[in-house]
């Protein structure tokens, strides 16, 4: 089985900050907007280097999203950033009308997504955002898995013309994908090749899926791990090809089951090639305060739960 090396834990939000700084230096159309979380979003380097192209919006997310849409008209490429909860649920109508319906070239930068936001608790731990964003016509939804991929995804989002929801997180997590990779929006990445079960994972759960595949290998089970960094548009070809080969599917995500990657893939499979499927996701509940690792374990979002889900799916073949 292919092996992946953790080159050192890093937070994905810093990957966003590095990507924004890099593309900001290359392309003067890039502008930044933030709602009083510049340091948390790691937008400070861009803000420092390009003060004329950075707009502090204060704690006024609705205004920020629509101002970003207004900036996009003259060809600017706005990145509007805040915590994932505050740039989705709080501003859904603004994104719907002035970003997606308007077809505005706005990039929503969503940090601290999911339960790994940790100690701040459920008010801040959005686990519905992928569902909300993927329901919007025209929205591209990207959820990269580590620092390197988040940096590359940020640059790719800037080069892509259209609304993008870019989701990343707060905790330091293994950084294992190649440095300076080319990020292709909508192209799933097969990380390990397997025969017995397909594990489609996104975001922080990709590393857990790789650990699960190692564990399964010890039990003589060959797992194919596929990194679904782009949830919309979904790489249905890659999903169907892998599911056809293995005949058993597990999805893994830091999100509710409702509206998440699992339901999306289930919808694809049921119409084309139904097969046993298990979801590693949070089932219809809110989070709570705790350490990221403690919460991942408590809510069943780790290697152990992926392994059991894989065994269950295989048993149902």
């Amino acid at each position: 089985m292919e092996k992946f090396i953790n080159t050192g834990n890093k937070d994905t939000r810093s990957g966003f900050g590095a990507g924004l700084a890099e593309i900001g230096n290359e392309d003067e159309r890039v502008v930044g907007l933030c709602a009083d979380l510049t340091g948390s979003l790691k937008m400070d380097q861009f803000a420092k280097e390009h003060p004329d192209r950075f707009f502090q919006c204060g704690i006024a997310e609705a205004d920020m999203i629509d101002a970003a849409a207004g900036l996009s008209l003259s060809g600017k490429i706005p990145f509007a950033g805040s915590f994932a909860n505050f740039v989705t649920s709080r501003v859904y109508d603004q994104i719907r009308q002035c970003v997606c319906y308007a077809g505005a070239n706005v990039k929503i930068a969503a940090s601290h997504a999911g339960i790994t936001l940790g100690e701040d608790g459920a008010t801040h731990q959005v686990m519905e955002d992928i569902g909300m964003m993927r329901m919007l016509p025209r929205m591209t939804v990207i959820n990269p898995c580590d620092y390197n991929q988040t940096k590359a995804a940020t640059i790719a989002a800037a080069r892509y013309n259209g609304p993008v929801y870019l989701r990343f997180g707060r905790p330091s997590v293994p950084n294992f994908t190649p440095e300076n990779q080319t990020f292709e929006i909508g192209k799933a990445l097969r990380l390990t090749e397997g025969r017995d079960v397909s594990i489609f994972a996104t975001g922080h759960l990709v590393w857990e899926a790789l650990l699960a595949a190692e564990e399964l290998e010890k039990q003589g089970i060959s797992a194919e791990v596929i990194d679904i960094h782009t949830i919309k548009p979904l790489d249905t070809e890659a999903v169907l090809a892998s599911a056809a080969k293995t005949g058993a599917v597990v999805t893994a995500e830091e999100h509710l089951i409702a509206g998440g990657l699992g339901e999306l893939i289930a919808g694809v499979l049921i119409r084309t090639r139904p097969c046993p499927m298990e979801f590693v996701a949070v089932d219809d509940q809110f989070g709570q305060s705790g350490t990221p690792a403690g919460l991942m374990e408590l809510y069943g979002l780790d290697k152990a739960h992926i392994v059991s889900a894989a065994l269950k799916a295989i048993a149902r073949k």
Partner: protein
């Protein structure tokens, strides 16, 4: 003929368009469209520097207009068509299946002159702020205009944008409030009172002018004054005191015609009060 006389004649035709469009569609929003008619007519036929024949969504080199209160679409479409953005006869398709003239302004159907969809209230001022900042970055010295409803000003986002514009010294922005004191459920004062709007806008760091909004001469003077205030570090708001449903006696000063189409008889009675000056569509 003076500018004021010419614009007053144009406004009369625009009012006829509004009444006829809403009647033909069997739905729509005549009240606010009629109260804002003189403001929009002054803007599109005198105040703004714009090139309808070379329009694109970037707005580069042109003054830009945003209708935040998207339900005033009959007014918006009439002034767009009459100033050359698209054929006047297309006004007859308002709200029909397949029309570019959607119930609320859309950018999805290729209608020239519409920079941003509107309808869900409270958003246009923020959009206009972004567009105005874009012009500053591009060193484009044209201005951005945005029309907001008074009822719409109950939306918190209006005041977020008010702070943003003042903080970022967006002084190439002229906002206008259609202060007709009516909204769906009743008078603005009875629904959620706005208090002293002029004091509020000034307290938010804006230049604020109050003017009669249904008197063409006063409207033009207000824009002259607004232009003299632009470029000095502050955004400008003009509070236009208007009458809901202006020009049709039975629609004036009441919330009942916010979003209601006249019957054929009511349309006839309305049109009898509004002179046809440029030819009906």
């Amino acid at each position: 003929m003076t500018d004021t006389e010419r614009l007053t004649q144009t406004a009369s035709q625009v009012r006829r368009d509004i009444v006829r469009m809403v009647t033909q569609a069997g739905s729509g929003h005549p009240g606010g469209s009629l109260s804002s008619t003189d403001i929009a007519t002054a803007l599109f036929f005198k105040v703004m520097k714009h090139s309808p024949e070379h329009w694109d969504r970037s707005g580069k080199g042109n003054d830009m207009f945003f209708l935040s209160a998207g339900h005033m679409s009959p007014l918006f479409y009439s002034v767009l068509a009459r100033s050359g953005y698209f054929p006047v006869k297309e006004l007859a398709t308002f709200r029909h299946l397949g029309s570019r003239l959607q119930g609320h302004p859309s950018t999805d159907h290729g209608l020239p002159g519409v920079y941003m969809p509107s309808g869900s209230l409270g958003q246009g001022l923020s959009v206009a702020c972004g567009a105005a900042l874009g012009k500053k970055l591009d060193k484009d010295d044209r201005k951005v205009y945005v029309l907001v409803g008074d009822g719409e000003s109950e939306e918190g986002q209006i005041w977020e944008a008010a702070m943003f514009a003042a903080h970022h010294r967006i002084d190439n922005l002229v906002a206008m409030t259609d202060w007709n004191h009516q909204q769906i459920d009743g008078t603005v004062e009875s629904v959620i009172g706005l208090g002293d709007l002029e004091v509020k806008w000034k307290a938010f760091g804006w230049e604020c002018i109050t003017a009669e909004g249904n008197d063409m001469q006063a409207v033009l003077e207000a824009f002259d004054r607004a232009h003299s205030l632009c470029g000095h570090g502050k955004p400008v708001m003009i509070l236009f005191k208007t009458v809901m449903g202006k020009g049709v006696d039975f629609m004036e000063g009441t919330n009942k015609w916010h979003g209601k189409a006249p019957s054929a008889e009511q349309c006839e009675a309305a049109l009898a009060q509004i002179k046809e000056t440029l030819g009906d569509f």
